[in-house]
Amino acid sequence: MKLTSREDLKKLREETKALVAARSAEETKIIVGMGTCGIAAGAGEVMNAILEELNKRNIKATVTQTGCIGMCEKEPLVDVQRPGGNRFTYGKVKPSDVPRIISGHVLHGNIVEDLVVARFEEV
């Protein structure tokens, strides 16, 4: 699909905005920091563990990736955002931590306190 005018771009922008809003109201989002720093710290394995766990337990959630947010030292970073809720960042996440994050936070909304870094907000 090619955008051939300003209006096309405007339309796409509105659509994507609406889509993003709708999604975050309906679905739980799990975002893994997949920059070079994250990957070097093991984000790939964490990502696999998340997918496996969701699959195993048949949980519906959107899993996506993002770049480096700066706290390279705390990588791998995993963000969880429940429908309509805040986005939380977990740091130094190991694959073995994944079940706790999924069952505690994703399923029940209980923040895994010993891993949580902060509530995400734009700086």
């Binding site: 920059g35 029940h108 902060a118 734009e122």
Partner: protein
Amino acid sequence: MQLVRAHILVCGGTECTSSGSKQVQDALAKELEKHKLDKEVKIVETDCHDGFCEMGPLVIVYPEGTFYVRVKAEDVPEIVEEHLLKGRIVSRLLYKAPATEEQIPGYKETDFYKKQQRVALRNCGIINPEVIQEYIARDGYGSLEKVLFEMTPEQVIDEIKRSGLRGRGGGGFPTGMKWEFCRRSPGDMKYIICNADEGDPGAFMDRSVLEGDPHSVIEGMAIGAYAIGAREGYIYCRAEYPLAIKRLKIAIAQAEELGLLGENILGSGFSFDLHIKEGAGAFVCGEETALMASIEGRRGMPRVRPPFPAQSGLWGKPSNINNVETFANVPVIIKRGAEWFASMGTEKSKGTKVFALTGKVNNTGLVEVPMGITLREIIFDIGGGIVGGKKFKGVQIGGPSGGCIPAQLIDTPVDYESLIAAGAMMGSGGLVVMDETTCMVDLARFFLNFTQSESCGKCTPCREGTKRMLEILTRICNGEGVPEDIETLERLGRVIKNTALCGLGNTAPNPVLSTLRYFRHEYEAHIFEKRCPAHVCTALLVYSIDEEKCTGCGRCLRACPAGAITGEKKEPHKIDPEKCIKCGSCFDVCKQGAIIRL
């Protein structure tokens, strides 16, 4: 029949089972038997206590209803002995109500982010860099649209000029002015180039931007191309950044598919094609003339300027070259206006700068701060201070071409001019924090070693001079320094700085000159007293044993790999300086503090 005095409920749900509830049950059974409580206390396996799974395995002791969480088999004896035998609750295993969302601090409340201001990094760590829609949903490509339909190239240049944006690649040249030169340079074919070579060791801000938000760089380049009158651009990215290259390729393909790159963008009549060039090159390939030679397929060697790229650049055509971070700032400036951007920073240095904060500081990572923030704020507020509470000694800023700023200048504001005045430079944004265990001579040698080995070899002062400086520093560190060395280093440094052909040579002496300026006494200690105050230069260390303190325990003797330590048990030991290889093993193992290191 005995009365059951207590029930212990152990959760047998899948979750708890997988986290070890079976082992806990077994341990309980064993422990109860051991204390002969197996008749009085009954273990019950329960179903899942929905909602607490992440805290499993769960153990609930009735009749009190004490709720223990995350119980491990190792915890069981304590529960049995303390709770069941003595009636004391094991509080460390007690369930605590989970924090409510509000109790978790937001990013801005954390030290790390409190003083940061994310402009260039606005989307990094937020959007999925491989999905252009996520960029667009955050108004991405809106600035390009605005420029194409509402602004003339001159207006764009004016906007950038008024914003006060200066090059983030090191030199700090005003970006708007550079664009203007290129726009005014005659020629129908012009090029816009993004410098993503990022050769400074320890620097990775450009990589992060490209990996986390490639579209902001692409959009910035497209805006720049429109402003200078280019219709073709290159991103020169080091080959050691495969992920950045992959994301860039995806981003370019997606932008092309949407018609945000290519012919007649959004029907505006403006066309722009973007290519990626992988540079397997050396550090010097980041120098703009070397970089262009490398794109042309020639050896990446700098050439004399003028002519500047704006006059004669890629394939002899007027070209504009900017750094990744510089371009990433452009769309926001267009979106939010020059005034907004210029409201951040200082008189002459506007906006923010991204730094790679590393070294002996508690919070390392990538930080974006408004220009003019002090080093103290970066190191102590954002960085959380020095690791292990050691003494802060100085900071090397600007990578190997930068300089060292000592503790007494910690309130230096971070802007282009102040850093130069302090003998350092903004550089690409490396920021290495040093504590008292860093030897400044050794540090200067380390950085010079890098630049020296990266010299391209074209001009005499850099090729020959940095080698001689390095030889002298190495000698000094080896305890072979002579009194003239300091003067020679200063003379060579001064001449190389003034005469080298390109920025690599012009800045290579900076680490040496700045440490000579602020830490001259350390050089003097090495040369005249043959002593390394930070105890780093091995050749200068002397280990001996304080007979008063030595208890003759023999730890050092066993630890010494060179067999240099002798002594009878319970008698003071001795180190044979001939045999000692100065590894420091004895120093590390002695519990009496009897090893003297000089």
